[in-house]
């Protein structure tokens, strides 16, 4: 059958223009910048979740650029630990100097370098009345008020100060602070040091750990950008060479976010290539097995390519940055897009001279019904909060439309657009006896049982880390290096946030109170202890004015407790200056003074914006439960998995999917009427419930991507139900394209199930199970209800 030349050339022209335009668009893109591997690009820029905005800020701040390096040298024969330690320190110093001179590194220092701690100590001591006096006065005033003391406030405070000082001198640590006690008889600074004891266990105070000397460094650029990866790795390599020149045999372990980001990008890129090729190969293999003249199956390739091209163009045109995961998951389109090729290509002619347009017009209704209902369903994902889901919605919708258009146009310009399938793919077991019918019914009943009982056993959990390929060796290395730096599992790191420093400090106040109530034995360390709340700071002038003749009272009290009051002249001088002071800084300035004193590793303990700010608190042991929302505090574990946030996205996706499915179902009822609509819709719905039931009985824990996979699977299996119904309406057997389509889709998604990215694997396995279940229902239902197609109607 030869098609009209005008039809063929028109189709070719449209295809050519589309292909050239699409290819030109993609060539014009800077794919390096367009395609992101940053998991934070998967979530909205204006996400209202404070924990995510904190992660975003953390990722963009200095904290994300930190590199932790540990160096050791081999022991020489008979060498003592001191000598080896000194050589180790030397190697660390050389390494640190070499790093500091590299353009990719902003800052580097051996952890034994006490300058950051000295700078902080000096700043706190210098501004001790600003930082520490307001809280000190507040707590003592509360005690005074609670005790209903008969003596005046100033006298009571002086006596309490002298008593506390005398008691303090019997503590072991008093010997170290005796040099500052005459300047600080209120023990403001020693008191802070006592509160910060948990910090000493973090490794920040130690320059060595085991055989290793430790180096802290910070890269100049974000570790998520190319500038923050390879140049940094090269700088580290060069620094190690320098260290080895100084200390032959020096060994190093190091970690940094850049290592994970680079590994993730590399692995995802290779996976993208592999999955796409494997998926395409499997689809072609399915076609090759099922059709008579295999080479003619190549006509299906342009359909897949047209679909992928359209999807790439649409998604890259719609978004400034597109996450690479969209393209990985998008590889599934090969298995979906080929469906329309199957439906058109495998549809037998009614008569040998039936023209393509006539045959296509017979199929256009189910084709449009299946394509548009799926597109409508996926279009609802555009209302999702997650950019990833929105991008997937556009990718799949555009891909399906392009697949349908490409299939219609491609076969319009081919003279012989019918591909005959092999006999086995068309064979129907309709002639089997009651045994087969019973077997089919039992199978369907068992499936129904699984669908009813299994879903109740499902567990749901989301973890943003499942969006990336796990890198166990890097994770193990990271854990080891961080352990050397004192970050062990025994302590819990909390981040307390606020929209500004004052809010953050107020939240910290609430959090520390909660922590104290829930884990009284916890050792806590936070720089928040070094800052008053905004309220305490505002009350300081009035508190000082209220103290009256405190100075004279303190002199007398010190004398009563065996001290020489004149020895405390440094304190009294500073106290007089404080009382006469008129130019106190604003609260924000106060916080900035403290933040400005944080250098090197200590800079991670506090982030004082003009805007969002937070405090780090280290607690050991920590309560089992998460801090209440009112404290605006999260653990670093919560920040790592963002489970709560993604659970919310899952609920949102469930809502959108439900609305989408409702529209899909409604469109079926409109097109096919209620009774047939019910039968059509029961197949994908039953397959979906069966899949969830199966996962539930298997004890699987599902996530957001299982849900998305279910939605996709329902839309796809919905197509099979429509084509089966259309065939039944015409009194024909279901076309073989349904089987081929289902098998190709299952293969394509089965490939995704092999992905090392957990969420991609979840999506792939869900769709594959649903599609196969839908195919099984489509096949078994006629068997269970007896033969409905006369034997002589088979092609």
């Amino acid at each position: 059958m030869r098609e009209p030349p005008r039809q063929k050339w028109t189709a070719r022209l449209i295809l050519l223009v589309g292909a050239v335009a699409g290819a030109a668009w993609l060539c014009s893109l800077d794919l390096e910048r367009k395609i992101s591997t940053d998991v934070l690009d998967l979530v909205p820029v204006d996400e209202r979740s404070p924990e995510l905005s904190m992660v975003r800020t953390l990722a963009g701040q200095d904290e994300a650029r930190v590199l932790l390096l540990a160096v050791r040298v081999p022991a020489r024969p008979g060498e003592g630990a001191d000598s080896r330690g000194a050589r180790c320190d030397h190697a660390a110093a050389v390494l640190s100097d070499a790093l500091a001179s590299a353009p990719a590194i902003a800052e580097s220092m051996p952890l034994s370098d006490s300058k950051p701690r000295d700078a902080l100590g000096a700043a706190i001591f210098k501004w001790r009345f600003d930082f520490l006096l307001p809280g000190w006065l507040e707590s003592r005033r509360a005690k005074y008020d609670a005790g209903h003391a008969a003596v005046p406030w100033a006298g009571w405070l002086a006596e309490a100060t002298a008593t506390d000082l005398e008691s303090y001198l019997s503590k072991p640590e008093a010997m170290a602070t005796q040099d500052i006690v005459t300047s600080d008889p209120m023990l403001l600074v020693p008191g802070l040091v006592g509160q910060m004891d948990g910090l000493s266990a973090t490794g920040l105070a130690a320059g060595r750990s085991g055989e290793y000397s430790l180096v802290w460094a910070r890269s100049r650029y974000s570790p998520l950008s190319p500038e923050g990866q390879r140049p940094v790795f090269e700088a580290v390599d060069r620094a190690l060479e320098k260290a080895r020149e100084a200390e032959p045999g020096a060994q190093m372990r190091w970690t940094g976010i850049g290592r994970f980001a680079a590994a993730s990008r590399s692995r995802i890129e290779s996976e993208l290539t592999l999955l796409n090729l494997l998926s395409l190969a499997l689809v072609i293999a399915v076609a090759a097995v099922c059709v008579r003249r295999v080479y003619r199956a190549l006509h299906l390739v342009p359909v897949v390519l047209g679909s992928l091209l359209g999807a790439w163009v649409a998604v890259t045109a719609a978004w400034e940055r597109v996450h690479i995961l969209v393209f990985v998951v998008g590889s599934l389109l090969a298995g979906v897009a080929v469906d329309y090729g199957f439906y058109l290509y495998l549809q037998p002619r009614r008569r040998p001279d039936e023209p393509y347009m006539e045959r296509a017009s017979r199929l256009i209704r189910p084709l449009l019904a299946s394509a548009l209902t799926t597109v409508i369903g996926f279009s609802f994902l555009l209302w999702s909060e997650l950019p990833l889901i929105r991008q997937l919605g556009v990718f799949v919708s555009a891909g399906l439309i392009c697949a349908l258009v490409t299939a219609l146009l491609w076969f319009a310009q081919v003279d012989n657009s019918f591909l005959e399938t092999r006999a086995f793919i068309r064979r129907r077991p309709s002639g089997l006896g009651p045994g087969a019918r019973r077997g089919a019914r039992i199978a369907l009943a068992l499936g129904a049982l699984v669908a009813v009982a299994g879903p109740w056993r499902l567990h749901w959990r989301d973890d943003i880390r499942e969006l990336e390929i796990p890198t166990p060796e890097l994770k193990a290395n990271d854990a080891d290096v961080r352990a050397l730096f004192g970050e062990t599992g025994a302590s819990t790191v909390y981040l307390t946030r606020g929209s500004n420093p004052a809010d953050a400090r107020a939240s910290l106040h609430a959090f520390l109170a909660w922590l104290g109530r829930n884990e009284p034995e916890a050792r806590m360390a936070t720089l928040g202890y070094a800052l008053p709340t905004e309220e305490e700071w505002g009350k300081l002038p009035a508190q000082l004015a209220d103290l009256g003749d405190f100075e004279a009272e303190l002199r007398a009290a010190l004398g009563r407790h065996g001290f020489q009051p004149e020895a405390f002249a440094p304190f009294f001088g500073a106290w007089e200056s404080e009382l006469s002071r008129r130019d106190r800084p604003t609260y924000d300035r106060l916080v900035a003074n403290l933040a400005g004193a944080l250098k090197g590793p200590l800079s991670s303990l506090l982030h004082a914006g003009p805007g969002p700010s937070w405090f780090v608190t280290i607690a050991e042991p920590a309560p089992d439960r998460e801090p209440p929302a009112i404290t605006h505090t999260v653990t670093d574990g919560q920040l790592q998995n963002l489970n709560q946030l993604f659970s919310r996205y899952r609920v949102s996706a469930l809502r959108l999917s439900s609305v989408g499915l409702a529209f899909v179902g409604a469109s079926v009822f409109v097109l096919y009427g209620f009774r047939r609509g019910i039968r059509i819709f029961a197949i994908p719905a039953g397959a979906c419930l069966f899949a969830f039931g199966l996962f539930g009985l298997a004890g699987a824990t599902l996530n957001l991507f299982n849900l998305l996979g279910a939605f996709l699977g329902v839309c796809l299996s919905h197509n099979y139900a429509i084509f089966s119904a259309e065939s039944a309406r015409r009194g024909e057997e279901p076309p073989p394209s349904i089987r081929m389509s289902a098998v190709a889709t299952a293969c394509s998604f089965g490939v995704l199930a092999l992905s090392r990215i957990p969420v991609v694997s979840a999506l792939g396995s869900t769709v594959a199970v649903i599609v196969l279940a839908a195919l099984a229902i489509t096949e078994l239902t006629p068997l269970a209800s007896g033969p409905i197609w006369p034997k002589d109607s088979r092609p």
Binding site: D82, G85, S112, S114, R117, D118, L120, G121, A122, I124, F125, E166, S167, L169, S170, K171, P172, E173, A174, M175, A176, T177, Q178, D179, I180, V181, T182, V189, P190, L192, V193, M196, D197, S200, A201, A205, A206, G207, R208, S209, G210, E521, R523, G562, F563, Q564, A567, F568
Partner: protein, 213 residues
């Protein structure tokens, strides 16, 4: 932090010897093998002991010393432990891994022996064990003897350490340690008088857990 460094440095009980009037003989690694060998050997080979002690802390801003009392324990394997009982219960432990301060509630604060501060503290252990090979690189050691009485004075070779730690003196009679002094200056010092001593003490598991790491 400056205070941290000062605090942990002073955990080493910076103090002073009672004016070392007799400078004594400067020991060298070679000289230590001479007439001092029997005494050093006897002191070094002493097993675990348990003794009461009285500590006097002198501060430049107080008229008189702070007086503390407690129990001293040494263990060959576990280091040295000072259990303060009066006026406030505290336990101070110095061992190979560093220093631990344990308060009345059992809450511990640790300082690593490998940290800058802990490294200085770690030298206390070899002093108490008379482990002279470990001490010679760090300290100038002087020894003097009058009859049964003897005295060793340890002065850090490093000037900075000498400034912060001061000198450490151990005095005794026969094979008994009777007095320890940590002297930074005349007005900044700690004196520890060792009282009744029980040699060959055996510490129960409960005592080991409570008074050692």
């Amino acid at each position: 932090m400056i205070p941290v460094r000062q605090i942990v440095a002073a955990f080493a009980f910076v103090a002073a010897a009672r004016g070392a009037t007799d400078a004594g003989e400067v020991l060298t690694p070679e000289g230590a093998a001479g007439e001092w060998r029997p005494l050093i050997g006897a002191l070094a080979s002493k097993g675990p002991i348990e003794a009461t002690f009285t500590e006097q802390r002198y501060f430049p801003f107080r008229s008189g010393p702070m007086v503390l009392k407690g129990v001293l324990r040494t263990s060959t394997e576990r280091g040295v432990s000072l259990q303060y009982t009066d006026p406030e219960p505290n336990v101070l432990i110095a061992d190979a891994a560093g220093l631990i301060i344990r308060n009345r509630g059992g809450r511990s604060r640790e300082i690593s022996a490998q940290s800058k501060e802990g490294g200085a503290i770690a030298s206390l252990l070899p002093i108490m064990r008379f482990d002279l090979p470990a001490l010679f690189p760090r300290f100038t050691i002087r020894a003097s003897r009058t009859g049964e009485a003897w005295q060793f004075e340890f002065t850090p070779r490093d000037a900075a350490a000498a400034g912060s730690l001061g000198s450490i003196t151990i005095a005794g009679s026969g094979t008994e340690v009777r007095h320890l002094e940590f002297r930074r200056s005349a007005s900044q010092r700690v004196e520890i008088d060792v009282g009744s001593t029980r040699d060959g003490a055996v510490f129960t598991p409960a005592e080991q857990a409570k008074f050692f790491r």
